[in-house]
C-alpha cells in the first residue's frame, strides 16, 4: 500500500490512512466464489474512476481446489497485478500457509478463525486479524455456508476496511443476481451487511483511497477474452467456428451467444480441423471469419492455415496460449506458442502474428487483426495468453459508434477478375465471394496447389517462385506500414529490455523501479511478431545489452523464442534471454533480480 498521509489517531486509537493503491489477495478454494469477490472489487474500481488489474489462479480440475484472486486497485495507472499483497484474506489453513509469504512485511492477514490456526512465527511479522467468517455467515444467512455466502461476507469485511462505496457495491450485487429470485439478492445483501458490521477497525487500520484525479472516468471492466471477443464483433466479424479448450472456450462461448443478435453465427465443430476449415469457408463466402484455440488445437489447424496462406484467404486465428507442450498446464500462462504461430506450417508459409499487451489492447488488436487479414488477404494469428484472457482490467470505454465496422461482402459484378494477379499492388490478392458475377465468364478457383494468376494448377518453377515472392512481398508491404517502435525510457543506456504480449506491464513497472533507483534501463514492446518491425537494430545500437524477457524455455541454444527470432533477424550477439516457465506472470521483483543477475554475469 502506498500511504501518503497518516491521519491522527482518534480517541479509540484507530487511524485512517489515505492510500494511493492496494493489493488484496483472497485465497480459498475455487468453489468458495472468491472469483466473484474479485470481480465485484474490480468492477467497483472501474466505476469509481480507479485503475484496476486482477490476477487469479484456477485449478485445472473441475472438482475444484485451491484458488486465488488478487486485485490491485489504485488511483494512478496500474501496470501489473502486484508482487506483494497488502492484505491477505485466507479461508483455510492451506490458503494461509501457501500465501502468507506473498504478504508485505507488516501487511495484514485476515483469516477465517473457524478454519485457520495462525502460527506464532508469522504473527510476529504480520498483523493478524481473525474473524469467524464461516460461523458468522451462517448466523447471518442460515444454511451451511460451506460454499455460499462466505465470499460476500468477506466482501463486506474488505469494504469496511477500505472504506469502499457500500451503495455501489450493493448495486453491483443486485445486478449480478438480476433475473434470479429476489430472495437471493436479499440473502447476499445480508451476508454483505454482516461482514461490513465486523468492526475490524478495532484491530487494524482503516484505509481510504485518495480522490481519483478524474482521468479515468467512463471506464469499462472486463477480462481479456471478453475484450478480444467484443473487439472481433466491433471489427465486423460475423462468422466463426471453434472447438472447446481452456482458456479459448470463453471466446467461442461469447461469440456463440452474441453473434446471433447481429445476424451472425458461431459454430461449435467436431474438432479444430473442422473449425479452421469452416472458418476459411466462411471467409471465402465473404465473411472474414475467426477460429481459435489454445496450444494443442493450434497444432491441429496448421495444415489448413497453410492452405489459407497459399490460397491467400483472410482469416483470424486466435491462440490463447497456455503452458505446453501437449495438454501441458492448461490453466497456467506461457508464451511458448510463438514458434508455432510464426513457423507452424509446412513449406514457406508467411503469415501475420500479432500479440496484445493487456486487456484493453486485446480489444483493439482484435480489430487490427481483422483489418490486416482483410486488407492483405492472409491469415493473422492473434497470439494472446492465459494471463490476459483471465485477468480483469478497467479501461476507457471505446467509442463504439466510431469503431464498429461493416465488412459485409461486396457482391456487385466485375468485368473481369484475376485473383492471383502478379502485377497487383504489393502483390495483394483480392478474392470475389461466390455469388459475384464476372462479366468475362472466366471464374477463379481457390487452391492449395501452386497456381497461375487465375488459380489454375501449374508446375511451372517460375510461377512457383513468383507466387512465393508475391505471398512474401505483401507482408513486407504490411511491415512498411507498421508504426515506429517506441522506446519506454531514454533511447540510450545500458540495458534495453525487450518484451512482448502480457509481459508489457510488469516490464514497464520493473523499468520504472530500476530507473527510480538510478539504473540505466529502457524497454521496447514488440506487438508485431511476424513480420517483425524494421529498424530495431537502430534502437539496439543505443544500448550495451539487449535482454529479451519472455515466458518460455531458453531452449537448447539458450535463447527464448522471441530472442531467437531477433537473433536470426539481426545476427547480433548482444541479444540475450531471460526466460521462465513457472506458469505465472512476471513479478516485478523477479524481473529486477534477473536483470541484476544478468548484469553481474557480464562483469
Amino acid at each position: 500500500m502506498s500511504e501518503s498521509t497518516t491521519a491522527a489517531p482518534d480517541s479509540s486509537e484507530r487511524k485512517t490512512s489515505e492510500i494511493s493503491e492496494a493489493v488484496i489477495r483472497i485465497a480459498g478454494n475455487s468453489q468458495d466464489g472468491i472469483q466473484a469477490i474479485g470481480g465485484f472489487l474490480a468492477r467497483l474500481a472501474g466505476r469509481s474512476e480507479q485503475d484496476v488489474m486482477t490476477f487469479m489462479t484456477i485449478p485445472s480440475t473441475i472438482s475444484g481446489g485451491p484458488s486465488i484472486f488478487q486485485v490491485r486497485i489504485g488511483t494512478g495507472e496500474i501496470l501489473s497485478s502486484g508482487d506483494e499483497a497488502d492484505v491477505l484474506l485466507a479461508f483455510y489453513q492451506h490458503s494461509y500457509e501457501n500465501h502468507i509469504n506473498f504478504v508485505k512485511k507488516s501487511g495484514i492477514v485476515l483469516y477465517d478463525s473457524d478454519h485457520v490456526e495462525p502460527s506464532e512465527e508469522h504473527q510476529k511479522n504480520y498483523r493478524h486479524v481473525g474473524v469467524a467468517v464461516s460461523s458468522l455467515t451462517v448466523e447471518a444467512i442460515g444454511g451451511s455456508a460451506r460454499d455460499k455466502g462466505k465470499n460476500i461476507f468477506a466482501l463486506g469485511l474488505i469494504t469496511r476496511m477500505f472504506d469502499l462505496n457500500v451503495e455501489k457495491l450493493k448495486k453491483l450485487i443486485a445486478e449480478r443476481f438480476k433475473g434470479k429470485p429476489e430472495s437471493i439478492t436479499t440473502t447476499a445483501h445480508n451476508a454483505f451487511d454482516a461482514g461490513y458490521a465486523q468492526d475490524v477497525g478495532n484491530l487494524v487500520d482503516l484505509y481510504e483511497f485518495e480522490e481519483p484525479d478524474g482521468k479515468l472516468s467512463n471506464q469499462v471492466v472486463m477480462n481479456g477474452n471478453e475484450a478480444l471477443a467484443y473487439g472481433l464483433i466491433a471489427a465486423g466479424v460475423r462468422f466463426g467456428a471453434g472447438y472447446p479448450i481452456t482458456p479459448w472456450s470463453d471466446i467461442m462461448e461469447l461469440l456463440r451467444r452474441e453473434l446471433p443478435k447481429y445476424g451472425g453465427t458461431f459454430m461449435q465443430c467436431e474438432d479444430e480441423i473442422a473449425s479452421v476449415s469452416m472458418a476459411i469457408g466462411g471467409s471465402w463466402g465473404g465473411r472474414v471469419a475467426v477460429t481459435g484455440s489454445s496450444g494443442p488445437g493450434i497444432a491441429l489447424k496448421a495444415e489448413a492455415i497453410g492452405w489459407a496462406i497459399m490460397a491467400e484467404v483472410p482469416l483470424v486465428v486466435v491462440d490463447v496460449q497456455r503452458g505446453g507442450p501437449s495438454t501441458g498446464m492448461p490453466t497456467s500462462v506461457e508464451q511458448s506458442d510463438l514458434n508455432i504461430a510464426v513457423f507452424g506450417g509446412h513449406g514457406d508459409s508467411p503469415r501475420v502474428v500479432i500479440a496484445p499487451a493487456h486487456v484493453e489492447d486485446a480489444f483493439y488488436t482484435a480489430i487490427e487483426a481483422v483489418n490486416i487479414a482483410r486488407k492483405y488477404s492472409v491469415p493473422v494469428i492473434l497470439l494472446t495468453d492465459q494471463a490476459i484472457a483471465t485477468r480483469i482490467e478497467a479501461f476507457a470505454e471505446p467509442n463504439l459508434k466510431e469503431l464498429c465496422q461493416d465488412i459485409s461482402p461486396d457482391l456487385s459484378a466485375v468485368a473481369d477478375h484475376k485473383p492471383y494477379d502478379l502485377d497487383a499492388n504489393d502483390g495483394i490478392t483480392r478474392h470475389l465471394a461466390p455469388g459475384t458475377r464476372v462479366a468475362s465468364g472466366k471464374y477463379p478457383v481457390l487452391t492449395g496447389l501452386e497456381h497461375d494468376e487465375m488459380g489454375h494448377p501449374t508446375s511451372s518453377r517460375e510461377l512457383h517462385m513468383d507466387m512465393q515472392t508475391k505471398r512474401r512481398r505483401k507482408l513486407q508491404a504490411l511491415r512498411e506500414s507498421f508504426p515506429a517502435t517506441q522506446v519506454y525510457g531514454p533511447d540510450e543506456g545500458n540495458i534495453l529490455v525487450v518484451g512482448w504480449g502480457s509481459s508489457q506491464g510488469p516490464i514497464r513497472e520493473a523499468v520504472d523501479r530500476m530507473r527510480g533507483a538510478g539504473e540505466s534501463v529502457s524497454a521496447i514492446h514488440i506487438r508485431y511478431l511476424n513480420p517483425l518491425p524494421d529498424k530495431l537494430d537502430e534502437i539496439f545500437s543505443g544500448f550495451h545489452h539487449v535482454v529479451v524477457v519472455e515466458l518460455n524455455d531458453e531452449g537448447l541454444n539458450g535463447y527464448g523464442q522471441l530472442a531467437q527470432l531477433l537473433r536470426a533477424k539481426y545476427a547480433d550477439p548482444k541479444i540475450q534471454s531471460i526466460c521462465k516457465t513457472d506458469g505465472l506472470t512476471w513479478r516485478i521483483g523477479e524481473i529486477v533480480e534477473r536483470i541484476h543477475g544478468f548484469e553481474a554475469a557480464q562483469k
Binding site: R43, Q219, V220, E226, Y230, I233, G236, F239, P260, K261, Y262, T265, C269, E270, D271, A274, S277, M278, I280, G281, G282, W284, G285, A289, E303, A304, A311, Y364, I367, E368, N371, I372, A396, L400, K401, L403, D406, I407, A413, V414, A415, D416, K418, D421, A424, N425, R430, L432, A433, P434, T436, R437, A439, G441, Y443, P444, V445, L446, G448, H456
Partner: protein, 317 residues
Amino acid sequence: MSKLSFGYEALDRTGDLNVGEIPELPEDRPALKKKQIAADHPTWCPGCGDFSVLALYFRLIEKRKIHHEKITTVAGIGCSSRFPYFVQGHGTHFIHGRALPYATGVSLCRPDLHVFVFGGDGDAFSIGGNHFNHTARKNVRLTYVVMDNWVYGLTKKQTSPTSPVGFKSKTDMWGAVDPPINPAKQAIAAGATFVARSTHTNPKHIHEMMDAALDHEGFSFIQCLSECTEFYEGAFDAANPRKGGEFNLVPEDHDVTDQDAAIKLADEVFPGKFGILYKVDEKSKNAKEQEINAKFQAKVEGMEDWEILQQNFNRMK
C-alpha cells in the same frame, strides 16, 4: 488510450482489371451451354468414371438454369477432387478430407447459394470420416457427391476404406483384410436426410439423383460408383448391364422415410439397388441457425450494430 494502427479501409475489388464494361443482364438469361460451363480440360485418365459425373453436373447446371456466379463447387484432394478446375464457376480445391467443413462455412454464410461438394472415398470416409458423420447429423444444406472407386486413385493404388476384402493394392499386396465401409448405410446411420446411390455408367440416373439432391432442404449425399480404370478396372462390372451385370432400381414400394428399411436396402450385397434409399424432411442446420438468429434479432430490432454492442458495454461498467 485508443490506438488502432490498422483501421478500416475500403478495398479495391480487382485492381486494374476491373476497368472493362459490365454488360447489363438480359431480362430472361438463357441457360448456360456446356461450352460455357466447361473450364480446364479434365486431367483424368481416359475412361475414368469421373468424366460422367462431371458431364452430368454440367447438364444439371444447364437444365436448372444455374448461372455462373451461383455455381459453387468445393472439393478436397484426390483425382475426383480436382473437379472444381473443370467447372467455370466459383470453386475451391481445399485440403484432403476437409471439404465438408469448408463447404459448411460457405453454406451457413451464404443462404443464397447451393454448394456442391465432390470427392473420393478416401477423402470422404478415411481422412474426412468424422466430418462426414457430423455434417450429416447437423443436416447442413449442401450436396455431397462421393465418387467412390474403391481405391486411392491419386496416390496410385492403396487400399481405401471402401476397398472390398481381397482387393490387392500396394498396401495390401496379398489382398485387403479389413471390412469396407458401406457409405450409404453409414450416411443413414449418421443422420443424413437424403441418401442416394448411383453409378457412372447410367448418366440418366446420376442426373435424376443430382436433380433431386438440389431440391433437398438439408444434407444430400450421393454415393456414385465411379470406376478407376487405371487402378481398379472392372470394379463395378456387376452393376453394369453392358458388362453382364445388373442395374436394379430401388423397388417402387420402398418407403424412403423408413430408416430401418433404408438401412436394410443399403446393406444388400453388391450391386444392390440404385436410387434414393432414404429421404426425410428435417429442419436443416441453416434453418435452425436462422431461427435462433430471428429470435435474438427481434430483441434488438431497429438498433445499429454499435448500439447492440453498447448494451453489453453498459453492463460492464
